[in-house]
């Protein structure tokens, strides 16, 4: 007889999944971050918004199609990218809210910001949902992108 151990979703286990997510993010393990998410996990980085003449690009979609390239690009542009988690609040429904600072020193272009070797550190609020299978099925994040631009020496409101 095979004995299987399966954790049930509680506020504590949901928070543990998200804590692991930030640990992997700090280690630049993008595949590992993605592995903590369900196949169809939703993704919304609300401040990501690029206005063109005929269209607006937004950081909305799925973890695997939008989130993963964004995380990979961020780490490429900010090779020392890191995070500091200040608070995690969760409930038994799988909602997890995280206050964290994201910081890094720019080495490559990021969006329209040319690299000048400057460092940024900006407070973020992340809202996760962890499913009953203990996989993250939704990520949303809010921060002040103007703060990042200004810290990097980019003063144009693009």
């Amino acid at each position: 007889m095979t004995e299987t151990t399966q954790r049930s979703r509680t506020a504590s286990s949901a928070a543990a999944v998200v804590t692991e997510f930030f640990d992997r993010y700090r280690a630049h393990d993008v595949d590992g971050m993605t592995d903590l998410c369900s196949m169809n996990a939703g993704f919304s980085y609300v401040p990501v918004e690029i206005w063109g003449k005929q269209r607006v690009l937004r950081g909305d979609g799925k973890v695997r199609t939008i989130g993963k390239p964004l995380w990979t690009g961020l780490i490429a542009s900010f090779p020392n990218l890191s995070n500091t988690v200040h608070s995690i609040a969760s409930n038994d429904d799988g909602d997890v809210v995280v206050q964290a600072d994201i910081e890094g020193t720019q080495q490559l272009a990021w969006g329209l910001v040319t690299p000048a070797g400057r460092h940024y550190r900006e407070p973020h609020l992340f809202v996760f949902h962890v499913g009953p299978d203990l996989l993250i099925d939704d990520i949303a994040a809010y921060w002040n992108d103007a703060g990042i631009s200004q810290q990097l020496g980019h003063n144009e409101v693009d």
Partner: protein, 142 residues
């Protein structure tokens, strides 16, 4: 007994009615206020009152549409969209009567019917873009 979520709902309902006094009625006098877009990290009801009053004054038709309220113990997080037409200078931006729509997340801590902490997250780049501001170092120049 009023739950933390109920307290936050009362605050948001009042803010949506542009009734700053009613919103502040459920706020502790020593509330901790963090507003990263303003670099604000202070204590006191007057600080939060100024944040709300400035928005209501600058956007007389301000509309708050709450999409989610997430209760996680005494922490309550509200996701909402703020919309309005600029009617006065705001955050250094001169009034050009532009329309604004900004998705925001506010994280509250509430206990015993009063809000004791507020952290408000939105993107000032999105806000300035909609108000036709061109540069962060020349916000007041249209």
């Amino acid at each position: 007994m009023t739950t933390a979520a109920q307290t936050v709902h009362m605050f948001l309902d009042a803010f949506a009615r542009r009734d700053v006094d009613a919103a502040m009625a459920v706020v502790d006098s020593q509330v901790a206020v963090t507003v990263p877009p303003f670099g604000l990290n202070e204590k006191g009801a007057d600080v939060l009152r100024a944040v709300l009053a400035d928005q209501v004054r600058a956007f007389p038709d301000l509309m708050i549409t709450v999409s989610r309220v997430i209760a996680t113990g005494d922490v309550v997080t509200a996701l909402f969209k703020a919309e309005g037409t600029q009617g006065a200078d705001y955050a250094g931006a001169i009034n050009q009567e532009k329309h604004l729509d900004i998705d925001q997340a506010w994280r509250f801590v509430a206990a015993e019917g009063l809000i004791t902490e507020v952290a408000a997250y939105w993107c000032q780049a999105q806000l300035y873009r909609r108000l036709a501001v061109k540069r962060y170092d020349e916000v007041a120049i249209a």
